[in-house]
Symmetry: C2
Amino acid sequence: VPGHPSMQESKAETFARLHRADDPLLLANVWDVASAVVIEAAGAAAVATTSAGVAWSLGRADGSDLGAQRVAEVVARITAAISVPVSVDIEGGYGSSPEAVAETVNAVVRAGAVGVNLEDRRSATSLYDRSEQADRLAAARAGAGDRPVWINARTDVFLINGDAQTDTRITEALQRAVQYKQAGANSLFVPGLVDLEGLTQIVAGPLPVAVMVWPGAPTVAELTSVGVVRISLGSAIAQAAYQVANRAAKEMLGAGTYDACADSLPYDTMNEMLR
Amino acid sequence: VPGHPSMQESKAETFARLHRADDPLLLANVWDVASAVVIEAAGAAAVATTSAGVAWSLGRADGSDLGAQRVAEVVARITAAISVPVSVDIEGGYGSSPEAVAETVNAVVRAGAVGVNLEDRRSATSLYDRSEQADRLAAARAGAGDRPVWINARTDVFLINGDAQTDTRITEALQRAVQYKQAGANSLFVPGLVDLEGLTQIVAGPLPVAVMVWPGAPTVAELTSVGVVRISLGSAIAQAAYQVANRAAKEMLGAGTYDACADSLPYDTMNEMLR
């Protein structure tokens, strides 16, 4: 029974153990059941959702209010279909209040998730104050109730526009890490930072560090060398998958051929994996 | 208002007009909102769902009982997000009885669809009798009520295992076309047949002809030369999209790089298209 608490507890323990500085957790992010199934089949030890991919597949922009209920439905379908632990990107928690965050975490954990990403961005240009975000993280922990959940506290210090130098941002991220840890966070997620020297400073802080990569970013080996515990691809795979759809349509409508689909998973293989 | 009857009527007229023997309707099949949006952006004049892709994305095998309600929910999301006509693969109608077929067509038409595919396969190895399938097609027409819907009557004569020679199958398909037309079908869909001589014989029959293609199948130009009115890619694009996910995960877990995602739609482009 995928949603059974004891199995979920065991998955949560597995998921926590996978965060290792000498052998980081590698997350090829998923957005629906089929992507989760084919990525599990590729050998992934765990999967994590991309909020962007989930939103796009359901007809929303990333960062709009997709809502806890829609996300929980996707999570329930994914956890029912695969055996490895599932972590969920809940963006800003689908509400600014700690109560909203707690309800969102409760919904996705009841749907079988054993991890969440919660970000500290309030708007396109501002972050929640440190203490506000600490309250929201504490609410995330409380929302999970008795069920264990790995809280990956995302700070958008490195994504927010502004004049701040990288050193200033690193200092801010480290100060946030102190409060986020006290509030119950298990790791600090720093999208926008892949500079190895900068990461070395963040890794020396109070929380294990998670990074986001893309084609051309430092390799797994390079990032392992500075001690990060988790590396994820964000929306990159979804963007590449939908590119295939766009190219295939253009080719059919233009040249009248179908070569963009030549490299594909066989129908029977897909069907067997989803059975 | 996407679901407004008058706009739906106008889309249905457009969709019907797109079935032309000298300039066939080209369908790069979609399985969720994002695939529909990027395929519309590629210039598609209409979109059609792939039942396999929809099922896989929701965690089911193709040909299992996905159910009318789940399909209608996907259709409603797609029709809300794009402007071109949408046709829906309803497999066998999610039930063998004419009543079940009528309910399914009603659900997807109310969700904004202006076309359906209904197949005559009863099981992995057998078809409904001609008259049974004619009753099911008539029920599909009745299920749409006042709303116009293009009924693409799929026959699996060319997919079913057995000893029958191609000529025998063509004769059977043509006999079915007579009854399917009387029952209200608008076109005959013959997956499994792309032989140009065989298609020429089918095209000479009572219904306009739709074909399914894949990488390596006859080109749009070749199929236009024999007079088919509609060409679709079935699940090929979905299979290629999920292959990208499988390859990206294997590369990240193996080489520790991310090149499988290098060819991708930009995040901002995706987000703008879904806004």
